[in-house]
């Protein structure tokens, strides 16, 4: 524990800018994954343990698409759309058969998908790790704001993730589809009774959730190594975000992801040997004070 270093950092604009940027990039990428988990749980009450697989496949698809098109934008689009489509197939072929089943059955189905696609990745892309490399447009020196370091690539990623958060928030609150999704989250039987095609609705929810995870994987691919099983590490943190934010709450996921990001960003200065532990302590404190999470509804 180094509280002196943390205090000194908080008093130095350069350190605050650098660590805040660090927290924002970790938090926003985490939000994209966790938003899908919480959306799917909110509407379908399914805890999608296979969500990390969407993140992993999104990165790999983008990696391949970049090799073919030489365009990072197309690579990101490919990773997102491929995972949206994969989400629909996953829901229709597998998950739709375990709605209302024992949670252990759902867990088993999801875990099977994780293991199968880890092996598929090994067969298609090989067991070794891959790196996409930084797109040429972002191979530029970092910006210096108040003495703090802000990489342009990360600034763009934060911007994209923030835009997605706004679009998702507005879409859920202001569009007909969004309102239907929210209604289905509260009372799916009533929504179905009113004539809404819930089969299509559930598939759309999985498409959005899968697409968001694919987007996160594709956006992060230039800086994170791609390897079979990589989805597992982000899955744990995205569940923490989902639980802290409140199961089913998109706004809660955003706030919780930013909290985790900032704990990582500043925790590494003040608690360098205990950053991971700190995240769990924050989670325990929040759940003791609000068992339903920051924005969750009491059951």
């Amino acid at each position: 524990m180094d509280l002196d270093a943390l205090g000194a950092c908080l008093m130095t604009p350069a350190c605050v800018v650098t660590q805040t940027t660090s927290g924002l990039i970790v938090g926003m990428l985490l939000f994209l994954v966790a938003a899908g988990v919480t959306l799917i749980f909110g509407v379908l009450k399914i805890v999608n343990f296979a969500h990390g697989t969407f993140y992993m496949l999104g990165g790999y698809v983008a990696y391949t698409a970049l090799g073919i098109t030489d365009s990072y934008a197309l690579a990101v689009l490919s990773g997102t759309l491929a995972m949206a489509l994969f989400g629909v197939l996953f829901e229709r072929v597998l998950i739709s058969r375990v709605y209302g089943s024992n949670v252990l059955m759902q867990l088993l189905v999801c875990y099977a998908v994780v293991l199968i696609f880890d092996d598929v990745v090994k067969l298609v892309w090989g067991p070794e790790f891959h790196a996409m490399g930084m797109p040429p447009a972002f191979q530029v020196p970092p910006l210096f704001i108040a003495g703090g370091v802000v990489p342009p690539f990360y600034a763009v990623l934060i911007g994209i993730a923030a835009m997605i958060a706004i679009v998702l928030g507005l879409g859920l609150s202001m569009t007909r589809l969004g309102k239907t999704v929210r209604a289905a989250a509260i009372n799916p039987q009533m929504v179905s009774a009113l004539g809404v095609n819930t089969t299509a609705l559930f598939a759309i929810v999985f498409a959005v959730g899968g697409g968001l995870a694919g987007l996160a994987g594709a956006l992060a691919a230039p800086v994170r190594s791609l390897s079979p099983g990589m989805g597992f590490s982000i899955l744990i943190e995205s569940f923490i975000v989902t639980v802290i934010g409140g199961m089913g709450s998109i706004g809660g996921a955003l706030v919780a992801a930013l909290v985790i990001g900032m704990v990582r960003g500043f925790g590494t200065i003040g608690f360098p040997q205990f950053t991971d532990g700190l995240i769990y302590i924050v989670m325990i404190i929040i759940l003791l004070l609000r068992p339903q999470g920051l924005f969750g509804r009491p059951t």
Binding site: T18, S22, A131, Y154, P228, P272
Partner: protein, 412 residues
């Protein structure tokens, strides 16, 4: 019930007998089976696979030359997934059930220590550890086994060599404020401590001003990188490796980390070099395996043969496994036997000619570990040969300081 024997009964009986008595099915073969176990799945599977690739090349070479004792050799490959308990089980099974007469243990250290005890217990088979670098495996007489040998780098050798090079470099560049960033498990912490111990011996005025301990396989190193930038060290020593090192370099590039401090690592290997799309120039790096070091026709020929066969470059684990088969070959020629005691006696003190040796030879010392292999440090360059200005380590000094270290540990 009818007493007639149906076709189905015959088929089932045949299948059952094959399963119950596998030796029947292979009774007609006189191949010499060699058990090989490694990490063939998971995040570092590429290292295990590169070990197997090297052995497959060796198998073809040895069989083309008539095999061992007139018998064609055949490897039995097993995946331990990096789990020590699985490694121990597999080692026993390879000997007792698969009829393997020699063992290649291509596990990382966690598995190698488990295999060591199995091999000691079996007693009737020789095992060559080809990938464990943890010094105590052979340095500690309580752990050393009479029929097991290490054909691989040893941590203490690399630590001495690296520290000597880095202290010279730090003196020349006046680098006193250092940071470390290594994976948060036994290898990262122990080996970092070992490097620092020797580093401080050569350059007592260095100061470690900050440390980063990311988890193994951590996807994002941003907070570690920004912490390093805040601390403003003059140089960074890191033991990150494989995908983690690649991700660290890619994320460090985003923060222009490599223009803000000198970075030194012993773990740059061909797969890492190939995966990093924007390899910064000037990283001070050891040569795990480099086709141009030692810069000899034999080393280049071996590297090119591997590349031609597998369409990728070898790793540090590849040459170590290849070398192990050369040791077996020489020992069997010398003893004309597979007897564990005879082979062990032949291997102790054996010196062989090899392209991987610093002076064209490598010796299996009588404490069951190899010495004289190529250790060099240089600096990275974005294009081939990737590491240039390589300076070879002084093996005389390495052995002198290794002996001091062994005394300190009460091993001798």
């Amino acid at each position: 019930m009818s007493g007639a024997i149906t076709r189905r009964t015959v088929l089932a009986g045949g299948a059952a007998s094959m399963l119950a008595a596998p030796w029947v099915a292979r009774a007609d073969t006189k191949n010499l089976r060699i058990g090989m176990q490694s990490i063939l799945s998971g995040p570092i599977a590429l290292l295990g696979t590169s070990s197997r690739n090297a052995l497959m090349i060796e198998q073809d070479r040895i069989n083309a030359a008539g095999g061992f004792l007139g018998r064609q050799i055949e490897f039995v490959y097993r995946d331990s997934k990096g789990q020590p308990q699985e490694a121990a089980r597999i080692a026993r099974e390879l000997v007792n059930s698969e009829g393997c007469e020699l063992l290649i243990d291509a596990e990382a250290s966690s598995g190698a220590f488990a295999v060591q005890e199995v091999v000691r217990d079996l007693g009737n088979v020789v095992c060559l550890h080809t990938n464990s670098e943890t010094s105590s495996l052979t340095a500690d007489p309580k752990i050393r086994a009479p029929n097991a040998f290490r054909v691989a780098r040893q941590g203490v050798h690399d630590a001495v060599a690296g520290s000597m090079y880095l202290s010279d470099y730090a003196n020349a560049k006046k680098l006193n404020k250092w940071a470390t960033c290594s994976p948060d498990y036994a290898y990262g912490r122990d080996t970092t401590a070992q490097y620092l111990q020797f580093f401080k011996k050569f350059k007592p005025d260095i100061e470690v001003i900050t440390e980063g301990w990311p988890k193994l396989g951590q996807p994002d190193f941003t907070e570690v990188i920004t912490k390093l930038i805040q601390a403003k060290p003059q140089a960074l020593f890191t033991l990150l490796y494989a995908g983690d090192l690649s991700a660290f370099v890619n994320q460090g590039n985003v923060y222009a980390l490599f223009s803000q401090m000198t970075v030194a690592t012993p773990n740059v290997d061909y797969p890492v070099l190939a995966a990093i799309k924007n390899l910064p120039a000037g990283i001070q790096s050891a040569t795990r395996y480099l086709e141009t070091f030692p810069d000899t026709p034999g080393n280049k020929e071996w590297g090119q043969a591997y590349l031609k066969r597998w369409k990728e470059r070898p790793t540090n684990w590849s040459w170590q496994n290849s070398l192990a088969m050369h040791f077996y070959e020489e020992a069997i020629k010398k003893t004309n036997s597979l007897d564990a005691k005879a082979l062990s006696a032949a291997l102790s003190g054996m010196k062989i000619n090899t392209p991987f040796g610093a002076d064209g030879t490598i010796t299996m010392r009588d404490d069951h570990t190899t010495i004289g292999y190529a250790i060099g440090w240089g600096q990275t360059t974005p294009k081939e040969p990737f590491i240039i200005d390589v300076k070879p380590a002084d093996w005389g000094k390495i052995i002198e300081l290794e002996t001091d270290w062994k005394k300190q540990q009460k091993y001798i």
